[in-house]
């Protein structure tokens, strides 16, 4: 396949789409319609709906891929794996059959969801509480200045988040508020601004064809780097 097909055309599509979406988000570009909406509005609306359809399609595609991947394990009887693969496919088929023929809002589907996935999912998430408790018992130790600061802040936030303690010791709310609104917020802002600058940089590189990861495997020549 030529570089034009593999790189130039996809990058051009990304550039045009990204420019349209950004123009629509940031500026009202004339000519506008009777409702005062920019000419880009209709095009971006269609693009967004394509995006939604593609995402929904990718869910189905993912299921097909799971079948393909796990069927191989079952047919090869991969040790310590094939029975789990079989169980996974059985569960997918059960959910799909009940969902398609009885409807995702039917009592049967609701029962299936509540009795299996919901219960398991809530259990796995809740078990984090146990790990965190064990972790804080071992981590919050007064070993040096840094760990002492960590410990004091952790203890204040813990105490402040215990509803009854916050009632009996109102000062905890003020300390907690300072930690959340001054210390945490300022640090979080720094992280967010850094992340946003990185995203802008990645976006520009993708639009201009300097970032080619989304195009799959390309040779150095196709990437435009040539031989060093």
């Amino acid at each position: 396949m030529s570089t034009t097909l593999k790189k130039t055309i996809p990058v051009a599509i990304v550039f045009v789409v990204a420019m349209l979406v950004m123009m629509d988000y940031f500026i009202v570009t004339p000519p506008t319609d009777a409702a005062g909406k920019s000419w880009t509005s209709g095009a971006v609306k269609d693009l967004q709906n394509w995006g939604i359809i593609l995402t929904a399609f990718s869910l189905g595609f993912g299921a097909v891929n799971l079948f393909y991947f796990h069927s191989k394990h079952i047919s090869r009887r991969t040790p310590k794996q094939w029975m789990f693969s079989l169980w996974l496919l059985l569960v997918i088929v059960t959910f799909t059959v009940v969902g398609v023929f009885m409807g995702p809002n039917s009592t049967s589907y609701q029962w299936l969801y509540n009795a299996s996935y919901f219960a398991l999912s809530a259990t796995v998430y809740s078990s984090l509480g146990f790990y965190m408790t064990s972790g804080l018992y071992r981590a919050l130790r007064f070993k040096n200045i840094e760990s002492a600061i960590f410990m004091v802040v952790g203890v204040i936030v813990l105490a402040k988040n215990a509803p009854a303690l916050a009632v009996y010791y109102p000062a905890l709310a003020a300390w907690g508020s300072f930690i959340e609104n001054v210390l945490t917020t300022s640090a979080q802002r720094g992280i967010m601004i850094g992340g946003a600058l990185g995203a802008i940089s990645l976006g520009i590189r993708t639009m201009t064809g300097r970032e080619t990861g989304f195009l799959g495997k390309l040779t150095e020549e196709e990437k435009g780097g040539g031989t060093a």
Binding site: Y25, S41, V44, K45, Q48, N49, G51, I52, T55, A56, L59, P104, N105, Y109, Q110, Y113, N114, Y117, F118, S121, A122, V124, Y125, S126, G129, F130, T133, S134, L136, Y137, R138, L140, R141, F142, K143, M151, G154, V155, L158, A159, N161, A162, P163, A164, L165, A166, V167, Y168, A173, E180, N181, T184, T185, Q188, R189, M192
Partner: protein, 282 residues
């Protein structure tokens, strides 16, 4: 140390995790069986949230994103339920719901079974509706904000939206007076700021997992979100709405388990420092 007898400080400095877990389990289960009715403070963010809903005028339209997963339901479910109850108590407020989480419709059904809207005289399609799961995350938020019917033309049962009186006059994000999001994902809670608040100025509140609150505070402190709460604060909201349920029960559990965690920290440090003073610290 091998061959030496372990002292009390050695044990307390390194309590086996099975023991820590067992005691924690008792602190979890006991208040669930025997509720203690410990006091619950009403924090500023919960008051702001309550006041915002209380100020809604008849005819106001609220968009709710049921964006949490099954794992987050025990935390976010009680908050979603009590806020719905508050909305249903308000005369003439319409509530339109969508889901950015694939499990959202199932969890919404679960919440509705707990709320029992008919108790408040609320009717499906007239006072509230669910327009289904919309795939695409932030793209879905942007698309719904731009033109709701171009994105989905049916509710979550597959019935046409135009047949429901609640959908009259609902066009895009400007048709909504308030946006509420419950989510276990940072992309959703931040995405609504970018796609609705920034573009249309829709007043926005979100309830997230307690561990996500710090990531949302910069938005709240910048005025982009009216109020950020964690699902764990459902008990506070239940006190304000006067509808005690799961949230107030879990407040006892939260208090006791947090006190236990503080006790663990104290025990660990006392043992560590005692051992260190005896020349055995690491």
């Amino acid at each position: 140390m091998s061959g030496q007898r372990k002292g009390i400080w050695d044990y307390l400095e390194d309590i086996p995790r099975e023991v820590l877990y067992a005691v924690l389990l008792v602190f979890f289960v006991a208040p669930m069986i025997y509720p203690l009715g410990l006091p619950v403070p009403i924090t500023a963010n919960v008051r702001k949230w309550y006041a915002t809903i209380d100020a809604l005028q008849p005819g106001s339209v609220v968009m709710i994103d049921f964006g949490y997963s099954g794992g987050g339901e025990p935390e976010l479910g009680p908050m979603a339920v009590v806020v719905y109850k508050h909305l249903f108590q308000k005369e003439g407020v319409k509530v339109i719901c969508m889901s950015t989480s694939i499990e959202g419709t199932q969890l919404w059904d679960k919440a509705m079974a707990e709320i029992n809207p008919s108790r408040y005289g609320a009717e499906y399609g007239v006072d509230y509706i669910h327009i289904g799961y919309i795939a695409g995350g932030e793209t879905a938020m942007a698309a719904i904000g731009k033109d709701l019917r171009a994105t989905t033309s049916t509710d979550y049962h597959g019935d046409p939206l135009d047949q429901f009186p609640i959908m009259e006059g609902i066009v895009d994000a400007t048709s909504f007076d308030l946006l509420i999001c419950y989510t276990t994902g940072g992309d959703q809670s931040e995405g609504w700021v970018r796609q609705w608040y920034t573009v249309y100025g829709t007043p926005y509140m979100c309830s997230v997992l307690a561990m996500m609150v710090p990531t949302m505070l910069p938005y709240m402190n910048a005025g982009q979100i009216i109020s950020v709460t964690s699902g764990a604060q459902a008990g506070e909201m239940e006190s304000l709405v006067r509808a005690p349920a799961r949230g107030i029960k879990s407040a006892d559990v939260i208090t006791l388990t947090h006190i236990l965690c503080l006790a663990y920290v104290v025990i660990g440090n006392v043992a560590y420092l005692a051992k260190k003073s005896q020349g055995g610290g690491k």
